[in-house]
């Protein structure tokens, strides 16, 4: 009973059919045939796009820097294989719109030749700042899908008092199992990455020196990953591996933070402000590779699954691989494919076609059949309030949707539109098949557009006002000058008259 009381409450959430077994039981495939062309977007992260420093026709080696990071929040991009730069131009982005964004096109030469690298003998002798510099230079971003530059997070960790580093191994999205397999097969490397992250967040300041502990949280539907990670972590007392209940969206960073630490991140704050920072297991693995082997982030493990996939698997592919090549390799039945999804089925975006590249954020590509998809036959809301029950953020999706439907976006914002995390629980549970998340994304975009328009009109108004003021000032000056001139003329005439009178 006491343990029941001390357990933190998990708010909302759903338990969807997992569909993980098809891929979670097989080892990661490493022999993906190297594609002839790779399409590498310059923006694969939150923040400013990277700036290319190569030219068309340049010969590059695997791991060579192609584009450098720009500004405070950004990440560089490296060559995923050796070859020749074919083009730097706009190509369709892996986004529902498939609008063109800037990409580097690399024609591979098949040698997959690494650039020579230097690695420190003992990275723990490096200064913590050095660790985050190397992580930043390796182009590592949050691999769970948020793609926030990892180095920036490590720096924030050094600046704040971090007492808990959470390693997110929840992988709560159905179908996906790339983190699960990674933990089963490369537990030691991940734990090493965690230790390096802990080192990278150590504060030099003796007063602020904290012994940050790390907690690896794994959903209890992955017992093998849990055992492997526990085995790998057993000689490091600062790293604890725990099991957490399987309930989507357990992997939502703020939900996990509350579950593990009991603390809630205030709205508008970063988790580091309350002494917690959170990274994905894939990120920890990438940190290990960057520091120990000097390898920048040029490939990742992707789950390819769904009813239309002939050979569902976890496969390591170079970044920039087109989805069509991935689908060929996994024998996807294009006729049966009703929807292509990048990411998981809860939060992932559907893609219009397969001619789009995989990026750092791509944890999975799903080809779902019509029978797997939720019905789109929309019916009226019956106020069953299931969406209120399942919302992990404590919102009332039905009220928000009703207000959005009648274009009362301000009210929707007032009742929490901006606190929506688009986790998809409400859309999942809705018996009337109302695409609630679609409503909220539309409304958020519309609100942003309106604010921009308002900002623009305010700017214009200010410009007009200043112009009017300037014109008035000029007119006044001209008038004053005119009057002065007339006065001077009169004065001259008066003087002249006086002189004439004297004469």
């Amino acid at each position: 009973m006491l343990s029941f009381l001390s357990k933190p409450r998990i708010r909302g959430g759903i338990h969807a059919e997992e569909n993980k077994a098809a891929t979670a039981t097989q080892p990661i495939i490493y022999n993906f045939p190297l594609p002839e062309k790779l399409y590498i977007p310059l923006q694969q992260h939150v923040g400013k796009p990277a700036e290319p420093l190569i030219r068309v026709g340049d010969k590059v080696l695997k791991g060579q820097l192609l584009a450098y990071s720009q500004g405070m929040i950004s990440a560089p991009v490296h060559a995923p294989s050796s070859g020749i730069i074919l083009d730097v131009n706009d190509y369709p982005a892996p986004h529902p719109s498939a609008l063109p964004i800037r990409m580097i096109v690399l024609e591979t030469d098949g040698k997959d030749e690494w650039i020579p690298v230097q690695v420190p003998l003992d990275p723990f002798q490096l200064a913590p700042e050095d660790i985050s510099l190397r992580v930043g230079a390796a182009g590592i971003v949050g691999m769970g899908g948020a793609t926030f530059p990892t180095a920036v997070k490590l720096n924030m960790g050094r600046e704040n008092h971090i007492d808990t580093l959470i390693i997110n191994g929840a992988e709560c999205e159905p179908y996906l199992s790339c983190d699960d397999r990674l933990m089963q097969e490369r537990a030691e490397q991940i734990i090493d990455g965690v230790r390096l992250m802990l080192h990278g967040m150590e504060s030099r300041d003796a007063i602020n020196r904290f012994s940050t502990k790390a907690v690896v949280a794994i959903e209890d539907n992955k017992p093998q990953a849990y055992l492997a990670m526990q085995e790998a972590a057993k000689s490091y007392p600062l790293i604890k591996v725990i099991q957490i209940p399987t309930r989507y969206p357990m992997g939502w960073d703020r939900q996990l933070i509350r579950y593990v630490t009991g603390k809630e991140v205030p709205v508008g704050c970063r988790s580091s402000e309350i002494g917690v920072t959170i990274h994905n297991v894939g990120t920890a693995h990438a940190v290990h590779k960057a520091i120990r082997h000097g390898q920048p982030l040029v490939s990742r493990v992707i789950t390819v699954s769904g009813g239309a996939v002939g050979r569902p698997m976890n496969v390591e592919v170079p970044l920039g691989t087109l989805i069509s090549e991935l689908f060929n390799f996994c024998q996807v039945n294009t006729e049966q494919t009703a929807r292509i999804i990048m990411g998981g089925p809860m939060m992932g975006d559907s893609l219009p076609h397969t001619g789009l590249p995989t990026v750092k954020a791509t944890s999975g590509i799903l080809a779902l059949t019509a029978s797997e998809l939720k019905s789109t036959d929309e019916q009226p809301c019956i106020r069953c309030a299931s969406c209120v029950t399942v919302c992990p953020a404590g919102l009332r999706p039905l009220d928000m949707a009703n207000n959005i439907r009648i274009n009362q976006l301000d009210i929707a914002v007032d009742i929490g539109l901006k606190d929506c995390i688009s986790c998809g629980c409400c859309s999942y549970i809705c018996p009337s098949n109302i695409p609630l998340v679609q409503y909220f994304k539309y409304a958020s975009g519309e609100v942003a557009a309106r604010q921009q328009a308002q900002h623009k009109s305010e700017q214009t108004k200010r410009l007009i006002d200043t112009r009017n003021a300037r014109m008035e000032r000029i007119a006044r000056q001209q008038l004053e000058e005119e009057q002065a001139r007339i006065a001077a003329k009169k004065e001259r005439e008066r003087l002249k008259a006086e002189q004439e009178a004297l004469a």
Binding site: E264, C269, I274, T354, I382, V388, R396, G424
Partner: protein, 357 residues
């Protein structure tokens, strides 16, 4: 390349639930109590039941056609059938045919479609119709036939039942009487004490439902079973039924303990009138009840309080329908004031403060 399919964000997979699934599950949960009621009151009850449900469907289709919509898919969601069904359950079993038709018209047209159809109505349509009928036709709505089970020799046969349904009851005194609650109310007005009034009262028969009452509201037992099954199926939540029944039990218990000759016991409250039907099937109507757990507890308690107050001190022996309508009206208010706390914010919606470490 795969051709362009309908793009959509958010959950691409979904739970196996649909509006019609929910409606048919509720109907299934109502079926045992309804079957028992039909058995108990025979052919005239079956006539009324069929007339009420089919006229509810008819009026739904009529309204949909009037607004230029396809009627069949909407009918198939089962909400009109459920409304008609619930209304029929609360009517006196031998009421004439036009009571069912007028009731369905009020429920579907005034109670639901004028608001904009499914999900838009403020009041529970069945209860709205029930109250409108009770106020407009008090005689027909308080004529309670004796228990006369199907196929018993004293019970009306099929032909006789058409006579009852279509041209009204004759020799009222021989075939009708008062419900338990109605009887208590009239006896109280003659200053009788409860111990005298309830001389012939049998608790067991009332729990099973072998007593005079509305068409399918008499069997507290079967209604509870249906309701518990619905909770187990996840169709309804426990909050409203539990808080409603608990409020009635506590209030009735306190008053009964203070004066057991003038205040009815909680046991009798729970298994008489429409208590169980209202608690599990009508107060839990999604559309007209609050959408947070806390709000539902308040709503249930409010219904319980009003039922007890109307039954105890009001002019009507049974107040469940009035209580539901009053609390329906309060639902938007409850939803306005009782909201879940948003993550990272306090109850007023301000961001939480960063704890000082």
């Amino acid at each position: 390349m795969i051709p362009h399919k309908k793009l959509s964000s958010g959950a691409h997979v979904g739970a196996n639930a649909s509006v019609s699934h929910i409606m048919w599950q509720v109907i299934l949960a109502l079926a045992p109590a309804t079957a028992f009621g039909l058995l108990l009151f025979g052919w005239p009850a079956l006539n009324l039941f069929i007339i009420t449900v089919s006229s509810a469907v008819f009026f739904e289709a009529f309204c949909l056609r009037l607004s230029g919509r396809m009627a069949t898919p909407v009918i198939m969601d089962g909400s009109a059938v459920l409304t008609g069904w619930l209304l029929a359950m609360t009517l006196p079993p031998w009421a004439p045919w036009w009571v069912g038709v007028v009731g369905s018209a009020i429920a579907i047209i005034l109670g639901k479609q004028v608001y904009g159809g499914l999900g838009q109505n403020l009041f529970n349509p069945a209860m709205l119709a029930r109250v409108a009928l009770l106020i407009s036709f008090p005689i027909e709505l308080t004529t309670w036939p004796n228990v006369s089970p199907l196929f018993f020799s004293q019970s009306p046969g099929l032909v006789e039942s058409w006579h009852i349904t279509f041209s009204g009851l004759e020799n009222l005194d021989a075939t009708t009487g008062a419900t338990t609650l109605g009887f208590i109310k009239t006896e109280f007005s003659q200053n009788h004490l409860l111990s005298d009034i309830l001389k012939d009262y049998s608790g067991i028969l009332n729990v099973i439902g072998w007593t005079r009452g509305s068409l399918a509201e008499t069997s507290a037992l079967l209604l509870v079973l249906g309701g518990v099954w619905l909770i187990r199926q996840g169709i309804i939540q426990w909050h409203i039924p539990v808080s409603l029944l608990l409020t009635v039990t506590v209030l009735a218990g306190v008053f009964h303990l203070m004066d057991d000759q003038h205040y009815v016991s909680p046991f009798l409250h729970l298994n008489s009138g429409g208590m169980m039907c209202v608690a599990f099937f009508i107060a839990t109507d999604y559309v007209t009840s609050p959408n947070t757990k806390a709000g539902q507890l308040v709503f249930g308690a409010g219904c319980g309080l009003l039922i007890f107050v109307i039954r105890t001190w009001g002019a009507y022996p049974e107040g469940a329908a009035f209580a539901i309508l009053l609390m329906n009206a309060a639902t938007p208010l409850i939803d306005h004031y009782i909201r879940p706390r948003i993550y990272g914010r306090d109850r007023k919606g301000k961001p939480l403060e960063i704890p000082k470490s």
